[in-house]
């Protein structure tokens, strides 16, 4: 599916140093609309650093970032969000004391005028809208008026995701989405990922669980010690090869796709 | 030690410098500030505060807070005074009466802490609330038993112990131990200087013991662990609940010490009006002493320094003829600075 269309996100020769050590060294990769890219690597391989560069937490020391063809400077998480790059963190940035739809609209609440004078929260509207997006993504939550703290980990995650989708995120970055979830929940999340990509949302997924990644990802990018050591189409590779790339068991030639 | 380390060290011990600075300034501004009498005065009046703050230190290191100490102190002071008064009235020897008063006071002092601890540790009540509840309860009980006015009619020995000194010095003339020299002329009575108040010695002894427990024993180590990361502590197999309860008991035990001591010093059972907001100043002292309300940091020594900063300020302002209210402003400002400074200076890293 790639090639014929221009990439949604493209990073070129990204370098990020922390004092002495080079966390990310001249890494390039691109993500296409509707594509799910698995970002793999052992601890300290530089996955999360790269992610943080893309999501605006860190600023790269070298390299360029292109989004929808234009070169962009992402200097803060807000920049990234404005572009449509949303990161779903493990600790899920949700306010547990608020209900589902309030979280989906958090910070961008819909208001209505009381006696067309005083702006107040339009709960009804926010609820309906949230319902729509949840239905679209096939997420089931008994009542959107339930507080987040009463939801399961998987439900919370799907709320976080639908939140970013509602505010039309084009690229989702999911850091260990299935970690700390029950089996059924994991499956739900993975299905959700498929649904999203089917709807044209690009996704970068980081996970230690190769099995999960192989299920959903179209393409796999492998990092080791800050360098990109390989890139494979999922259907052209297998876990063993990927693992060997990750741990650097054997030298891999022709890693890059021409 | 590198330069940054040096800076960090100085920054982290700013309170010592500050205290020193205060003393220098006041010795210029305050008439007769730099004198044995004043020193002993500061030591004496700050003793109960020292105890109160020391107890609070333990709680604050666990990341909690104990608002009840002020009124627990008041309650214990009243109760011990009542015991002393009544036993004395019944014709027992004053020393026996005082002894009983102290024992009863200290023992009762264990209770509030036990309740606080159980509420905090077992029922997960926020420390602020649990101890605020106890604050009200102790206040009410103290008022009930004191009828709202000080417990008087204590034997003179009370005041003599509370305000006694180990040494008495009549400059150039004579020097006695334990006993005030008798048969002094009026002029001599005015010049007599007491050195090393009993009260202070008692306070310091207690501080030393518990300071040792906090800094040198496993028990103390675990308190820091709990304050640093309670889950980690739990996973490490520390009986967190039990530990927390003990900590709150220690805190109210110290409040009881403080109450008993204030009875001895003021030779009355002091009901709670005066105790109000004592707890806040204790907390202030602890924080100025380098503890963090987030828990995991703090030391008895630091707290002691904090207390002395406060009492030097009080006495110094008084003797410099500065309105006492400026003291509140000073305390408030210093308190905030303490925290800001603490955030400015990094942890010392040894390489």
């Amino acid at each position: 599916m790639e090639g014929e269309r221009r990439p949604l996100l493209e990073v070129r020769n990204i370098v990020k140093r922390f004092g002495g050590l080079v966390a990310v060294n001249r890494v390039s990769m691109e993500v296409y609309p509707g594509e799910v890219v698995g970002l793999l690597g052992d601890n300290g391989a530089g996955k999360s650093t790269l992610i943080k560069v893309i999501s605006g937490v860190y600023r790269p020391d070298e390299g360029q970032i292109f989004f929808e063809g234009r070169e962009v400077r992402i200097t803060s998480p807000m920049d990234a969000i404005r572009l449509g790059i949303e990161t779903i963190y493990q600790d899920l940035a949700l306010a547990e004391n608020l209900n589902v739809y309030s979280n989906i609209f958090l910070g961008r609440e819909r208001l209505k005028k009381l006696f067309n004078l005083i702006p107040v929260l339009d709960h009804e509207y926010m609820m309906q809208e949230s319902k729509k997006v949840l239905d679209r993504l096939g997420i089931e939550i008994p009542s959107l008026r339930n507080k987040i703290k009463t939801l399961s980990g998987g439900q919370r995650q799907s709320v976080a995701i639908s939140r970013s989708i509602y505010w039309n995120a084009k690229l989702l970055i999911m850091d260990e989405p299935t970690a700390a979830l029950g089996v059924t929940e994991q499956r739900k999340v993975l299905n959700l990922v498929k649904t999203l990509s089917a709807q044209g949302v690009a996704i970068i997924i980081i996970s230690h669980q190769l099995y999960d990644v192989f299920q959903v990802a179209h393409r796999l990018v492998v990092l080791r010690r800050g360098e990109k050591v390989g890139e494979r189409l999922t259907h052209e590779t297998n876990p063993d090869e990927i693992v060997s790339l990750m741990v650097g068991a054997e030298l891999v030639e022709g890693g890059r796709r021409g | 030690m590198s330069r940054t380390q040096l800076v960090a060290r100085i920054g982290r011990n700013w309170v010592v410098l500050f205290l020193f600075l205060l003393c220098v300034i006041f010795s210029f501004t305050g008439r007769g500030f730099l004198s044995l009498k004043t020193l002993n005065n500061i030591l004496l009046t700050s003793s109960p505060a020292l105890l109160l703050a020391a107890g609070e230190t333990f709680v604050i290191i666990t990341g909690g807070i104990d608002l009840s100490v002020g009124f627990v102190r008041g309650l214990i002071s009243v109760i011990s005074a009542i015991v002393i008064r009544d036993l004395y009235a019944l014709g027992y020897s004053p020393y026996f009466a005082i002894f009983c008063g102290i024992v009863v006071g200290v023992l009762l002092g264990l209770l509030p802490g036990l309740v606080n601890g159980i509420l905090v540790a077992r029922f997960r009540v926020p420390p602020f609330i649990a101890t605020l509840g106890m604050y009200g309860i102790a206040n009410g009980l103290a008022l009930r038993y004191s009828k709202g006015f000080p417990i008087t009619f204590l034997p003179d020995e009370v005041g003599e112990i509370g305000n006694g000194f180990f040494f008495y010095l009549l400059p150039g003339r004579l020097f006695t131990v334990f006993e005030k020299p008798l048969g002094l002329t009026e002029a001599e009575a005015r010049n007599l200087v007491g050195i090393v108040p009993y009260a202070t010695v008692i306070a310091f002894a207690l501080l030393f013991v518990f300071g040792f427990v906090l800094s040198k024993t496993q028990f103390g180590q675990h308190i820091y662990a709990i304050g640093g990361n309670i889950d980690a502590a739990r996973r490490a197999g520390i009986p967190v609940e039990k530990h927390l309860i003990r900590v709150y008991v220690i805190s109210s035990l110290f409040a009881a010490f403080s109450g008993v001591l204030s009875t001895l010093i003021f030779s009355i059972g002091t009901h709670t009006q005066f105790a109000a907001s004592l707890e806040l100043f204790a907390i202030a002292a602890v924080v100025i002493g380098g503890a963090s309300l987030m828990g995991g940091k703090g030391s008895i020594l630091g707290t002691a320094l904090g207390v002395f900063v406060l009492s030097v300020l009080e006495v110094g302002f008084l003797m410099s003829g500065i309105l006492p209210f400026y003291r509140y402003i000073a305390v408030g400002t210093i308190l905030v600075f303490a925290v800001v400074i603490d955030q400015l200076f990094p942890e010392i890293v040894y390489d």
Partner: protein, 327 residues
């Protein structure tokens, strides 16, 4: 649901408001005693009031003895008592001569007569019409005169020369303010006597003790101290005893608590002025009785005298009646 309950609460309140003012009015005057603070002096007034009420067969409601001195404590109590609706006279000691004017006026507007004892509102002169002339009468010691006499007696004791210090309670309480004024007036006649300071302990004995201790440190040559009420005086002599100056520094105290009398016997205090709280109490009730039952006009100010305790007369049988006994 919560809202519904709130509504319910409000409804109850409103209902209350509507049925309000429909309660029975007592025919014979019912007296309420609202002390200013819990101390032996006020307990003595209370005793006087209680005995007199029994004697005249009047109903009496005794509000609690507040544990702290001040309007924010006293006013809610006064209002709650007034709101009982069965009260005709409130006898009280205003805790501030300014702050209590408005609240007492409001209670007076509810049709309840006010008698102020020990302390008064405004300048205490209810005879000429003014913002604060509504109370029935003020019954209390002539504090100014008392201050003057104490000054003279203390001056005698210290040989009419040297530094003296005043420990008092609040700067806005008529009674103690006048005592201090009187004391200054009296001392002004002695050129060799210097008043080195006036401290306010806010009715907290430990504070008084610390302030006097500090004063002794700052002025080691103080020869006399005047404690303007029981807490001030008790704290003052404790401080002097602790400084080992008992007998060296002369102490004149206002109010004859058992504690101060004991101190007088032991030579820790040298002069005790006893007001006549019991008499103040009985006078207050008589005034109310005369006003309501006999419809008499009553004087706007009544001044029972006072009594001086010295080591010489402290054991005289007729003196004993003037000692305040808390219980």
């Amino acid at each position: 649901m919560r809202k519904i309950l709130v509504a319910l609460v409000l409804v109850t309140l409103v209902v209350g408001i509507l049925v309000g003012g429909v309660f029975a009015e007592g025919k014979k005057p019912k007296i309420a005693w609202c002390p200013a603070i819990s101390d032996p002096f006020y307990y003595m007034i209370g005793k006087g009031i209680a005995d007199k009420c029994k004697e005249l067969g009047l109903e009496l409601f005794v509000a609690e003895y507040p544990k702290a001195w001040g309007p924010e404590v006293q006013v809610p109590i006064l209002e709650a008592v007034a709101a009982r609706g069965d009260i005709d006279v409130i006898i009280t000691g205003p805790t501030s001569k300014d702050a209590l004017i408005a609240p007492l006026k409001r209670i007076h507007d509810m049709g309840i007569e006010i008698i102020t004892v020990d302390t008064y509102i405004g300048d205490g002169d209810y005879s000429k019409p003014s913002e604060y002339s509504f109370p029935l009468t003020f019954i209390g010691t002539d504090n100014f005169q008392g201050g003057v006499e104490i000054a003279h007696r203390l001056a005698e004791m210290i040989g009419k020369k040297g530094k003296v210090f005043v420990e008092t309670t609040n700067p806005d309480v008529s009674s103690v303010v006048e005592r201090v004024e009187g004391f200054k007036k009296g001392m002004s006649e002695y050129p060799d006597i210097e008043i080195v300071g006036v401290e306010y302990c806010l009715d907290i004995q430990e504070k008084a003790q610390q302030q006097v201790a500090a004063a002794l440190a700052a002025h080691p040559d103080i020869v006399g101290i005047f404690g303007t009420n029981l807490y001030s005086a008790q704290g003052a002599y404790q401080a002097v005893v602790n400084a080992g100056l008992a007998g060296v520094v002369k102490i004149a105290s206002w109010d004859a608590t058992e504690d101060l009398i004991k101190a007088l016997r032991e030579g820790k205090v040298d002069l005790v002025l006893a007001q006549k709280p019991y008499e103040i109490g009985t006078l207050a009730v008589e005034a109310a009785y005369q006003y309501f039952v006999e419809g008499k006009e009553i004087p706007k100010r009544m001044v029972p005298g006072f009594f001086f305790f010295t080591r010489d007369n402290v054991d005289d049988p007729e003196a004993q009646q003037y000692i305040y006994r808390a219980d």
